[in-house]
Every structure is written in structure tokens, then in C-alpha cells.
Symmetry: D2
């Protein structure tokens, strides 16, 4: 079988090295090029010794000509980089999966407001497919340009989806209280993410507004069939957990009291996700731990109705670097290239 020729732009961050880990053992992929302006010339294994014996490639200068020889290019770059190179690649017939946020938000004005820059190719935003397979699998199959979802948006949307599809929620007051390991903040040299600043501590951040809010809201509005943005009133608060990997979203909403039992809601979740390879609905009463998905592409979900009230609490956990980034990107690749959706992703989480 011919392998997919793959390029990665920006491979020195945590999503980059995670992508490398997943692709190194992927049976259908041949990694052709990995670019990094700062590390050009350096063997990947010198920067990431975990890849010794697994990858024999070196970082090179980003170069559209080289990238055009690929079947697929992943962008594991900061926001605002992919949008400058994507048009040329797409025109050349290369598929693109952007792990950053350049193509996630359909409303260009909202995107520009939250990301603080002008969008370089608004037309491509329109044609981009939001790469949440559980929602957009058919479109992903046909897509040239895939906007890989953010980490929080993945955990939150998968957690809320069955409630919206079954129109169970009062949408005037939803809460997504989310917690992420520190790897979500990236591999940049910042005082704020030093071990001595984040270990043995916990905090909320970006309470006034986080860039993942408009992405989540766009998704929930779609689930809700909202006439206009804002019909779903979501409060989203992210927190920093003193650990490397993992996201937990704790979701709160009201349903019409007595209208439906927890057992029925549980059944709706199980039914919704029964054929999904990477969503696992836990038995009633469960409390998923982020470590049960560490290193894997799985999202585990549990549904609760505390004290038999009309409040529903959904617990949704993912590995932010896998289902929240690189793993979901590989899943999207598998779908877009008609491979087994689980190819290269049959990973057993590391425990303990």
C-alpha cells in the first residue's frame, strides 16, 4: 500500500512532538518533512530523545515547495501562521489539517476580535471543515482543509452534544467549568508555567474571556439550531491543574424537572456514542479520571443528576494533547484519507 506523504509545519511544541509520537508508529504514514525555523538542521531526536529509535528525520526551514510534495500537511504552529500558507497548499492539491485556531471560527469578525489580528484568507475559513468527527464525519471525509478543534471545545462539545440533540437543556444558564494540565499552555519559556509557579497550586485563569469561548459557543449554537449566536448562554471558566496532561470539563445545566430520568439520559448518551471509536460513556455513577485517557485519543464521559434534582452534571475527560490536539488530528487524517479511523490510535493509556 502506498503511504500518505505527510509534512508537519512547526514541530517543536507539545502538539508537534505528540503528533510525531503518533505518526512514528502509524502504519499508513511516511513523514517527509518537519519544519522549524528555530531548530532547522537539528535531528528531531536531539530535541526529543523519546523519539530516538523511532524517527530519523531532521527539522528543516519551512518551504512551501517542499510541503507541496506532501499529500497532507499538519500545522502545529501558533495561531496566525497556517492562514498564510494554506491557500497555496490547498491550490496545489495538498490537504491541510490546522491544529491551531485559524480556521475554527466561521464569523471572521469574531475571530479577528478574539485573536487580535486580521485574517489572511477569509474565503478558506468558509470552506474549512470543523474537525470534530463525532459531529462532522461525513464532511471531514470530503474536506481539503480541516480546522482541528481546540482542547477545551472538544471536551465541552462532546459532553453537551447528546443533551442538545435531544433538546433537554434550558439554554439560558449553562456552565462549563474546565480544568487543564499545564501542557495546554505550550512549550514556550514563560515564568507562569515553570514547575515552581504551577506545581502545588491551582487557579482559574482568563475568567473575563478565553479564546475557546467563541469556538464552544459556535458549536453549541449549531447543536441548538439557534437562530442567532448567543441564544445559548454559556459561562466558561478554565483552570490550571498541577499536572502535565489532561482536561476535565464539568458541565452544568438545568433540564425540565421530572421530564426525564437519569437512566433515560444515560441511555441517550450510550446510544449516541455506541459506534464512536473514541468516545466512551461510563456506567451511571462513574467519575472519570483524566489519567484513564493519558496518552490515548479517548474521551470518557459520565452523566449525573445530583440529588435527583433537575440539574444535570456531565463529566468529560480527554488528554488535551491527544483527543484535544494531535490525536484528533490523526483521527481526522484517517477519515479524510479513508483509512481505518483507529489506525495509529490504538493506544492503551499509561496507568499509573
Amino acid at each position: 500500500m502506498t503511504k500518505i506523504k505527510v509534512g508537519i509545519v512547526g514541530g517543536t511544541g507539545y502538539t508537534g512532538v505528540e503528533l510525531l509520537r503518533l505518526l512514528a508508529n502509524h502504519p499508513n504514514v511516511e513523514l517527509q518533512v518537519i519544519t522549524s525555523r528555530s531548530e532547522s538542521g537539528l535531528p528531531v531526536k536531539d530535541l526529543f530523545p523519546n523519539l530516538r529509535d523511532h524517527l530519523n528525520i531532521q527539522f528543516s526551514e519551512p518551504n512551501v515547495l517542499t510541503l507541496k510534495n506532501c499529500d497532507l500537511v499538519f500545522f502545529a504552529t501558533p495561531n496566525g501562521i497556517a492562514m498564510k500558507m494554506v491557500p497555496e497548499l490547498i491550490e496545489a492539491g495538498v490537504k491541510v489539517i490546522d491544529l491551531a485556531a485559524d480556521f475554527r471560527i466561521k464569523d471572521i469578525k469574531i475571530w479577528e476580535q478574539w485573536y487580535g489580528m486580521e485574517h489572511a484568507c477569509p474565503d478558506y475559513v468558509e470552506q474549512a471543515v470543523y474537525g470534530l468527527p463525532e459531529v462532522n464525519r461525513a464532511a471531514i471525509k470530503q474536506a481539503s482543509l480541516i480546522a482541528n478543534p481546540g482542547c477545551y471545545p472538544t471536551a465541552v462539545q462532546l459532553g453537551f452534544l447528546p443533551l442538545f440533540e435531544n433538546k433537554l437543556l434550558k439554554t439560558d444558564f449553562l456552565v462549563a467549568d474546565c480544568k487543564s494540565g499545564v501542557s495546554g499552555a505550550g512549550r514556550g519559556a514563560n515564568v507562569g508555567t515553570l514547575l515552581c509557579e504551577t506545581s502545588e497550586s491551582f487557579k482559574a485563569y482568563a475568567v473575563p474571556g478565553h479564546r475557546h469561548l467563541p469556538e464552544i459557543s459556535q458549536g453549541l449554537d449549531l447543536f441548538n439550531g439557534s437562530a442567532q449566536s448567543g441564544d445559548v448562554d454559556l459561562t466558561f471558566v478554565p483552570h490550571l491543574v498541577p499536572m502535565i496532561r489532561g482536561i476535565q470539563a464539568t458541565l452544568y445545566g438545568k433540564i425540565d424537572s421530572k421530564a426525564i430520568s437519569l437512566a433515560e439520559i444515560q441511555a441517550l448518551y450510550e446510544e449516541k456514542y455506541i459506534n464512536e471509536p473514541f468516545v466512551d460513556v461510563l456506567p451511571t455513577g462513574s467519575h472519570p479520571e483524566t489519567r484513564t485517557v493519558k496518552g490515548s485519543n479517548m474521551c470518557r464521559i459520565a452523566v449525573h443528576q445530583p440529588q435527583g434534582s433537575d440539574t444535570i452534571v456531565v463529566l468529560s475527560v480527554i488528554d488535551n494533547l491527544v483527543k484535544g490536539a494531535a490525536g484528533q488530528a490523526v483521527q481526522n487524517m484517517n477519515i479524510a484519507f479513508d483509512l481505518d479511523e483507529k489506525a495509529g490510535l490504538n493506544l492503551v493509556p499509561l496507568m499509573p
Copy 2:
């Protein structure tokens, strides 16, 4: 000045050793007796080497006769122990501060239902004062029996209090999403709190119902002047954070839109707590970190109104072993014995 003669029942857990740390340097206290059935005869410093050079006392068998010679007895025991010894001590004129839950809930039926045992002295529950100084300082001054609040209830009630006092909240949907370090689970030998089970992971627990829920609800009903229990609809979800110390409560509620600005709410918080020695209202826009209260009796609070909506988010952090347990107990002692409320509690948090 004569020192207060103090006894501690049950000093081998984390609240016990924390109490010892605080009392070892307290200028007005003479520690007379510390009991432990399992460690009787052992010098305290052999179990807790951090106390070498600070405490020269050994564990002894619990004995009411010896305890009666104290002016004050702290119970740092599991639930259900204090209630068996308290009547005799109180009758003997000894003041008691119970760090466990025996005297926190006024409604005996609710207590018995949540704690799964019959209460041994319901009459004493009635006379017990709930030891949250910011609410009950005057009563604590006169109290013989003080029910020291739980850790989550302290963080949640201090966070919500000004909103209730000013009747700003819609009480039909409040959320307290709380996160605690592992020390909250105690020093017992359990697989669930091993480093290998809790480190590098995050989870919710007890979502169907946690014993601190009725304690918090009782407090909020009081703040609300509720005609009957249950008028305040609170959903409380605790989570386990991979760290030793610290609690963060993230509180959510709706206010009447446009009725009041964030600046005005901020002012109400500052005004409420301006004279409180152990509540610190942070400037608008702040995100308190639990490490900024590590080892200290401080509660730090920040108020947010994300996106200018009608949702209020309050962030409240404490050290669960200090303001959430031993520190608040010492604060209550200081009040009850007419000492400087900050005596022995002028602790600078350890950072980093």
C-alpha cells in the same frame, strides 16, 4: 500572662499535625495533652519530625479525666467521636472546638442521614455555635462548644456571603465547583490517595452527594433568610487536585442583569471584608492561586462578571488544612478566649 491549657484529641491526622504546627508557636497556649489510641506513648516528634525542636510531648491514651484539666479541648478526630465525649467536658467547664462534623448540622435528621449514624447528644448540637467567624463572631465569643466548619463550606460560604447579604442572586441555580488538594482526604492508608493514583490526574468525586452539601446549604439558607430549607438550589461538585494543600471554589450564579455593575459588586465585597483579618478581596480581574495561601489562614476572593453578562463568578481560595480546618480552629479559640484574633496566625504563605 497565664496561658490557655489546651488538649487535642486525635492528633495523628493531617488536621492534627497542622494544629500542632500552629499551637507550637502560639504565644498564649500551653499544650497539655495530645491523645491517640494507636500511637500512645510515642513522642509526637517521632511521628512528625517537622516538630522536632518545637514540641516535646508524647501521645497518650484518650482520658476524660486528663482532658477535664484543660481550658480547651480540640477534637481532630473522625466524625462521631467528639459527640461521645463532649457532654462530659462541657459540663466540667471545658470549652470544646470540634474540627469534625458532629455539631455542624442543626437538623439532626439530616445529619444522621448524611453521616450514617445516630447522634449521641442532639441537645448539644442546638447550643453549638458554627465557627465561621465572619458570620458568627459574637456568638463564638460566648460559646462553650464550637463546631469548626468544613473546608469546602468555608470557601463556598465566604465566597457567596456578600452576594446573599445584598440579595443580588437568583437562588434557583447556583453552582459551587470546588477543587481540593489530596490532604483533604486525610492520612489514612487508602489506595485511592496514593501518589501513583492521584498524581498526574484530576477527577470529580461524590457528584451524587457529598457530606459538605447539607452544611453549605444550611449556611446559604441562613444567609438567604430562607423560610425553608431548599429555597437555595445549589449544585456542589468536589474535585481532587494532584497537590497536597489548597481548595479553590469557583462559584456561579445569576444576578438581575444591568441591576448592578461589577465595580459595585467589587465594592460590596471589599466593604464586607475590610475589617476581616483573614479574608482578602483581590483587585478586580484577579485570579487567586491556592499557593498564595499555602500554610496561612487567609481566604482570598476575586469577583468576576464574564463578558459583562448577568453571570457572577466568584473565585475563593483557602488552605484546606488552615482556614479550612486547624487555622480556623485557632482563630475560633482566639475569639472565644478574648485573645488577639491573629495570635499565632500571622503566617506568611510559603511561595514558591
Copy 3:
């Protein structure tokens, strides 16, 4: 191809669940039975949710009759269990790999002294092969009974081996200063391994004597061709590191000054291990991090000669649960059953 029918005795500890993780994806293995007295009847995935979607088997009572139907039985039990069942299994033609210490020490008196019990089958100790493939590969190929090495002994012996083989060391003063993550202490409910007792702290333990000392000494004496035990004078001090996985051995010894350069020693190490699939000699000047082997069967080694002196410092890192336990056991299985030695072990370490 027919698969190897495998049984595991004692699958509820950390080496057990790690064995399950590795075998779940092993192409040549069919897991037939996994026993646990305490968890009999429980689906494995209920105890270890990371194995949901990967293993559909439940714990059963240990039963020699059932185990006899296996081609191979792993013992992931406490010391002293395997020796009671091994003779019957071996007689029945079942191969056995014991991950505990029952068959590691050839001198029965020494074993009984360190392990505090009488050995149940000394004859089998004699025929057992010490399963360090880099030393005993040929014997492992033929073995019926394999004594899987301890975690510290693996890291220490692989680190020292080329120095001994080339007779470079003065053997009258060797130091192995070793550091292990907490998972090495097992999944038992002990106060000493609670997160709150081990996190944010570091300590040496068992300095007067640790059970891995006689195992290491036996190995070094063999490497040394010692006439009698004790010719090699090794001081071994283990330490506990506040992390889950990983061992680092820092090894110290004197060579004859000026006799050989660091570059020559480096070359000897590279030559020794060039064909070893699971030993990776790092470039001169390297400092291996335990995280670069997390979840993998690799041992990474670096050699130093500080300040150009006659002291050699060897740094050797492994994942204690993989190359130090379950991974090495699978490697031994692969060798003993004539499979690709890397089958099921082509794992990319998780980083970060």
C-alpha cells in the same frame, strides 16, 4: 499463526496492570486467564479503566488446573507466592516468568536471609535463568523458568556491565546511588506512599540494606568473574523520587588513571550495546532524563569522567515498570518463544 496462551497470576498491582497494557496490544499473545484472590469475578476494566476497549477478561481465583492450559504463566505476585506453584506448572510443561524475587538469587541461604522465609523449591532456583537478556539471551531462549530481574538491579547491572567486561574498574569501592519513582513501592494501601507523604519530598530509604543489594552483587560478581562473593565492594543506596515512574542509577567507580580515555570508554559502551534493541547509549556529555523512557522498555545510558579524573560516573535510566518489570518480562517471553524480541514493545515514550 497460533498465539501464545498466556496466564497471569496476581494482576492487581502495578506490574500486573503494566503487563496487561503491554499484552493487550501484543500481536502474538492470547491472554487466557488472570487471577486475583481479592478481585475474583471483577472485570479487569472495572479496576483499571485505562483498559476499557482493550481487554475483555475478568479476574478469577488462582487455579493450577486452569493455568496448566497456558503456554506461559507470568507471576506478578508478592515474593514467596510463585515458588509454591512453579514446580507443578513446570512439570506440566508450562513456561514461567516470575516478576517477583523467588528465583533471582542462586544462594538459597542469602535469599532466605534477605526475604525472611524458607524457600519452597530450591531445586528450581538452580535451573532458573536470570532474565537479563543483555547478559543471558542464549540461556533465556532455552529456559523453562525465568527469574525476571528487579528494577534497580536492571538499571545498575546494565550501567556497570561494559566496565566489568573490560576490567576497567577498581572493585574495592563502587557506589550505586539509585532513585526510583513511587510506583516501585507497589499499589498497596500504605501511609508511606500517599501523595501527601511522598509528593514535594525526597528521601533515601533502606540504607542499612535493601533486598536488591544481594541481587546486584550476585550479578557484579559474575561480571567480575569473582572467585568468591564480596570481591566487589558495592554500596547501594535507594531513594524515593516524587514521581510515578522511572529509575535513575548514578554509578561511581575508579579506573586506573590515564589508562583509558572517556572517548575510548564511550566506544566500548556503544560497541557493547549496538545490537541491543533496548539499550541506548547516549552521546558523550548527555544527561538522560527518566521521562525519555516513560512507558517504554528502553534503558538509556550515558558515561562521564568528571573533570578528567579517574572517576567514572555512569547514568542509567529505565522505566521501573517496563524495563524494570513488565516490559523486560515480555522481552523475555519474546526470546523464550522465538518471537521478534521487540514484538509488542515498540513503544514511543510519552513526552511530555
Copy 4:
């Protein structure tokens, strides 16, 4: 009583904030000025919220004129800063304690070689007193300029001292295998000390040579009464532990076999340190944990003779930011200003 007027140059690093924590509650100190070029004008409590309610001062531009009004100036700056300002301050009659390395090494050539710069005031190196109170208390009392020891050198020298003083060691092969929490690497923004790079991992670093080696060697040579530098052959290997605070030094050396028993050595240690307020010799057989000194100025030491051999193993633990930096600086201040040596340092370690 008049208070000592104190200035701090460079207060934004971890030794700076630790100094602030200690001085904030010191009964004999008035903090007059704290400088920081980068944070000039910022209230200290805005950078370090743990100091809210404890310190009401703001960072200012470094200015010799202002500093000259102090009785004492601490330098908590990077290496090479203090030496430029010290002469002017000393001439003005201000005492100086340098927490960096500018005045620790008497041999200027060695200092310049290890620190990679020319020394600005070699004359002052000569008059500087090395501030290890257990060795130099009398000289510290008279000193104008105190070179506060490094963190590793403190733990190592205190651990070896009684062995040297009693001439028990063979000095031709000593090992100091040292382990430090990440705060030792400072508060700079470096990828290498991010939580995601250091947590859940362990490594040696600087094996070819670390700046603390010449400092330790200078001390051991003095203890040894060496005719010339290098008579004591020490191998020093530092390691990074995934925790915030704490150093453990594990020290190895040979004594003349049978010449002296462990009990006798234990007695020598106890005798040596019996009157030292900040060195605690643990009972025979102990394994000190770094957490037992967390936040305190204590050094705890245990002595072992594994297997009754002629090897001595000394375990020495300190909090690198306290006895290894700011606490020892305060201890030196107390001595130099004739205060109670424990003033401001009567701190109970935080446990858990």
C-alpha cells in the same frame, strides 16, 4: 530597640521572595528598600501575593545612595552584580551579605574560570567571610562582608564536617550525590524548568562540572587541613528532583575498617552539633525527608554504615531556599548584628 535598616538588591527571584518572607516577620528588622530594575515601581505584593498583608513596600531602581542609608544590604542577584556595588557600600560602613557567589571562592583564578568573568574587586574577596555559621561563627560576628554559601555546599559541608574534624575519612575517593528541587534553578523563564519538562522526571545535570564543586572542595580542603587544593578527591553530581524545594546530599566515603563503630561516629555527630540551633542529628537508622525541613532553616543529618562495612553514608537535607540561601543569610545577619541567632527563624516546617 532600634531595628536594623535593611536593603535588598534584586528581590524578584526565589531567594529574594524567600528573604522577604523571613524578614517580614523578623522582630529586629525594618525593610527600607528593595530594588529591581525590571519591576521598579511595582508593589512587592503585586508580584508576590503571598506577601499581601505582610509587606507594604515597592520595588525601586537600584541606587547606591539609598542603599548607603541601610545598616545591611542583602544581594539576591545573579552572580557578578554584587561585586560591582560592594566596595562602595563597605566603604560607607554598610554590612553586606551576598547570596550569590561573588565572594565565596578565595582563589580568584578558580572563581574566574568557573564563573566566566573577571572579578571586579579581588581585594574584597580576601576580607569576605564565608558565611557557614557552624564553621565560621566567630568571624561572621566581626565581618563586614559575608559570602553566603551555596545550597549544595551547605548540605555537603555540614554532612562531611564531623568526619573531617575527626580525621576518619580516606580522602582519595569521596562522593557527593546531590538532589535538588527545581527552585534551585531560579525564577527565570527557561524551557528546561517548565512543569512539563521537569515534572514526572528525574535527571543528573552538570556531571562534567558544576560551579558548586570548587566551593565545596575549598571547604573540604580547609576541613582537611590540606597542604594544597586537590588533596581531597570529591566527585560531585547534582540531580534535579520534580519538586519545588529541598536538597538531599547523599555522601559516601571510606573509613579505616573496624577503627570506629557507627555508634561512635553517631556520637561524634551529636557532640559536634549539639549546640547548633540549625543542625539536627537524627537518631541512628534514620532517613531524613526533605519535607521535614520545608520552609525552615534546619539541616537534618543521619549517618549510616551499610552492612557494617567500612563505607560511611551520610544523609543531609536542607530547604535549598532557606538554610541553602535566604535563611542562612538571615542567620548570618543575626550573628553579625549580635541578635538571637534564631530571631525570625523559629519556623515550623510545613507538613504535609
